[in-house]
């Protein structure tokens, strides 16, 4: 002991047992059942799409880090989340080359040019999806029915379509509940929607698994529960009021809740910590804005689905929410700045 060299460090000398990479890894865990169900429901096509976006997102992150002579940040698992989420929001028979392109865009434009993890203004996966939506509107709205009999035996030709060529549409179109409602005014069965026995993007169909994933993260304190609660609550209240006004024209709150990408968006996309406000009241306002936008776009907008744009818009105003809504500093009448 006499000649012992002691380590010195500044206080605090103990830290909580949580780390950014473990948070990200747990989000991946929470997403795996959702992805598993996507493969079960939509077959080998969905598997290929999800794998492609994940590989391209991770590969892009690694390549860009090397290009800018930085240590690769792939190990923080955030690129895996972006890739998985992007894959889960694409139609099951989406051409793989487009999916690959989406993954590159998500990381390069959605995250890396802002400075990487922690600096992105928007949810990277949604940036990728928005670009794909704008670039390939037909492919983005070509749906495939759930539980097709040949889903594990054949790969759709559109999935393997040659890059930069118009994909041949060979699939039996399976309209999503939202587009069926929007264009044909058909309401899908709500228990089918909750369990995911419907057509839609690969990972957005099974609301139950998405909710379970969210509850897992909330219990582990790795997700801000106020965000999904505020979004879903706003959607229920607003669509409930409309439904009470005229049930013939407006869909029920249950339909609104379980259709399209709302559940996936509310639980896994809007909760991106970097792109959401930091104060408790701020995130509630942020969630309410998303909820209002979703209802407005779905019911009065030209598109069947509005979750993506709702979240992207809310991401953009999130710094302003932080600027306007501040906590009062202890012992002062002044509000802390959060911008």
């Amino acid at each position: 002991m006499s000649s012992k060299t002691l380590n010195i460090s500044t206080s605090p000398h103990i830290i909580a047992n949580v780390s950014t990479d473990t948070i990200m890894l747990n989000v991946v865990y929470a997403l795996l059942p959702v992805a598993g169900f996507a493969v079960y429901s939509f077959g080998i096509n969905a598997l290929l799409v999800i794998l492609t976006t994940t590989i391209s997102a991770v590969g892009t992150e690694h390549y860009l880090c090397k290009l800018s002579k930085k240590e690769s940040t792939v190990g923080d698992w955030s690129a895996v989340i972006s890739g998985l989420l992007l894959g889960l929001t694409l139609p099951p028979t989406f051409p793989l080359w487009m999916a690959f392109f989406g993954g590159v865009i998500a990381i390069a434009l959605g995250k890396f040019i802002f400075g990487g993890l922690g600096y992105n203004v928007f949810n990277p996966a949604l940036v990728g999806r928005a670009v794909l939506q704008a670039a390939f509107p037909v492919a983005m709205t070509t749906w495939y029915p759930a539980m097709a009999l040949d889903r594990f035996s054949s790969i759709s030709t559109s999935v393997l379509s040659t890059p930069f060529m118009q994909p041949t549409v060979d699939v039996v179109s399976g309209a999503t509940p939202l587009s069926a409602f929007k264009f044909d005014n058909i309401i899908a069965d709500s228990s089918d929607m909750a369990l995911g026995l419907i057509s839609g993007s690969t990972g957005e169909t099974c609301a139950v698994l998405i909710l379970l994933g969210g509850i897992y993260l909330i219990i582990r304190k790795m997700m801000n529960w106020r965000i999904p609660v505020a979004i879903l609550g706003t959607v229920i209240v607003l669509s409930g009021i409309l439904y009470l006004v005229d049930p013939q024209i407006y869909p029920s709150p249950v339909f609104m809740l379980f259709s399209g990408g709302l559940m996936l968006g509310a639980i896994f996309m809007a909760t991106d910590m970097v792109a959401s406000p930091i104060t408790p009241l701020g995130v509630v306002v942020y969630g309410a804005i998303i909820g209002i936008l979703v209802v407005v776009i779905r019911i009065w907008g030209g598109l069947p689905e509005g979750v993506m744009y709702a979240i992207l818009l809310a991401n953009a105003i999130s710094p302003h929410i932080d600027n306007m809504i501040r906590l009062r500093v202890y012992g002062t009448s002044k509000q802390t700045k959060h911008d």
């Binding site: 002691l6 380590n7 830290i15 949580v18 922690g118 970097v274 408790p280 202890y330």
Partner: protein, 462 residues
């Protein structure tokens, strides 16, 4: 209260009744020592006393080399108002007067005292401070003469802290028995074993502050201490015991006042601005024990614990006992790698074992190389808001951390209340990206303070 969702809390994270806003729950690790009674620590053959043991100015040595001194004899006198004297913790011979190392790394004038083995170690008495007849000022003078500083760890001269400025009224005397630092159990044991001293101390403090009543604040993990004190309150003493939920950093006096009284100490202000004077419970016990005899402080209760210590416990250790001697006596492990003076949240890591126990040492926590959990990697801030939910001052550590990186110190102070940070470490504790936030803030604060001084000097010159 806990099970139902409070609506205002949903939006703002407001304080529940009975506690302050935010805070963290580090593992307490108090079970190993909170049941162990206070034991007298062996007298070290050599005592090394630095003259800087408190915030403020150092003490001035009044003895010479070779002089024989008795236990309790004055060794160094106070040098002004923000200073306290130093008394001999052992009977012995002054061997040397020369510079000694301190925890900050600075060498300061100090005294090497060699114990006389044959001595009885009986304590010298001075002039008692009579509770009945003493004036406010005489009590404060008595506290200064006893060399008492805040024993909770801050080592701020107690008589200065207790002074109620003209024009202010003290409504409550708050006795701080919170002890929110993990591992430490000294205040717990003092409350269980020294109730009479505490109540005697409260009598002196009530008189010196003019407060009509005293409140002892205790966290819910020390219910036995709360019960013991409650059942022993003398009938004529206006004291109540308040139990508050366990949460770090409740032992900070601002947090304690908010938890118990619901009042907020204004930014840059003192507890007396909301009618409160706070004293640590061990400090209070010391006042109650020393003043009736006119003695000076020569020893204090310290929790010596941590995975690297074999004989864990709460010990009454003479001030000036060398740390190396302490660790040998408690059989510290061979592979110790970090030693903290104080608790692991706000304590200071020791760089060398040649320093001594000082008046402000509330605990010694020893970690071996296996117990130290250091983050291997710092990730970027992901704005998760964990620090915002942890900061008891409701600051935004996330934003402050980013500004510190850009060296925007003035902005941090002017717009983001940097100077309200008291370095409790809650933000660093919870940060999943392991950003050394407190370290940034400590540095930023010192730079801001220097700039403020420089600005004032400039104004003075002009």
């Amino acid at each position: 209260m806990r099970s139902s969702i409070n609506f205002s809390q949903f939006f703002s994270g407001n304080a529940r009744r009975g506690t302050f806003k935010h805070g963290v729950h580090p593992p307490e690790n108090k079970d190993e020592t909170n049941g162990l009674p206070i034991r007298q620590f062996p007298f070290s053959p050599l005592i090394i006393l630095p003259t800087v043991q408190n915030i403020g100015s150092p003490s001035e040595i009044v003895v010479r080399e070779g002089q024989e001194v008795n236990r309790g004899q004055l060794l160094a006198k106070a040098t002004g108002y923000m200073s306290v004297p130093l008394h001999s913790p052992e009977s012995g011979i002054i061997r040397k007067i020369k510079n000694v190392p301190t925890i900050s790394g600075k060498m300061v004038p100090g005294i090497y005292l060699e114990a006389l083995p044959s001595s009885t170690q009986e304590v010298m008495d001075g002039t008692p401070v009579e509770l009945e007849s003493a004036t406010r000022e005489e009590i404060l003078q008595g506290i200064q003469d006893a060399g008492i500083v805040g024993l909770g760890g801050a080592a701020f001269p107690t008589h200065v802290k207790l002074k109620v400025p003209d024009g202010k009224v003290c409504e409550y005397l708050m006795i701080n028995g919170i002890e929110c630092e993990p591992y430490l159990t000294t205040d717990h044991r003092v409350m269980l074993e020294q109730a009479d001293d505490i109540f005697m101390g409260i009598r002196y403090l009530l008189k010196s502050t003019g407060a009509p009543k005293a409140i002892i604040g205790i966290e819910a993990n020390k219910l036995d201490a709360a019960e013991h004190l409650r059942s022993n309150i003398p009938e004529d003493l206006p004291v109540t015991v308040e139990v508050v939920p366990v949460k770090y950093p409740q032992g900070s006096e601002k947090m304690l006042i908010t938890s118990v009284l619901g009042r907020e100490v204004p930014s840059g202000g003192l507890p007396i601005d909301v009618g409160v004077v706070v004293a640590n419970v061990a400090t209070t016990a010391e006042i109650g024990r020393l003043l009736p005899h006119g003695r000076g402080i020569q020893e204090r209760v310290i929790t010596i614990t941590g995975p690297g210590v074999k004989k864990k416990g709460n010990y009454l250790v003479p001030i000036g006992t060398p740390l190396r001697y302490v660790l040998e006596q408690v059989e510290a492990a061979e592979n110790i790698s970090e030693v903290y003076m104080g608790g692991p949240m706000m304590g200071v890591a020791v760089s060398n074992l040649d320093i001594s126990i000082v008046k402000g040492t509330s605990g010694i926590v020893v970690f071996t190389s296996e117990d130290v959990k250091r983050p291997t990697k710092i990730y970027p801030c992901i704005k998760c808001g964990a620090c915002v939910d942890a900061c008891p001052m409701t600051l935004n550590p996330s934003k402050l951390g980013i500004l510190a990186k850009f060296e925007s110190y003035d902005l941090m102070a002017d717009e983001y209340n940097l100077l309200d940070c008291f370095e409790c470490g809650s933000c660093s504790y919870v940060c999943p990206s392991h950003i050394p936030l407190v370290q940034y803030f400590r540095l930023s604060k010192s730079i801001v303070r220097k700039r403020i001084v420089a600005r004032k000097e400039l104004e003075y010159v002009q």
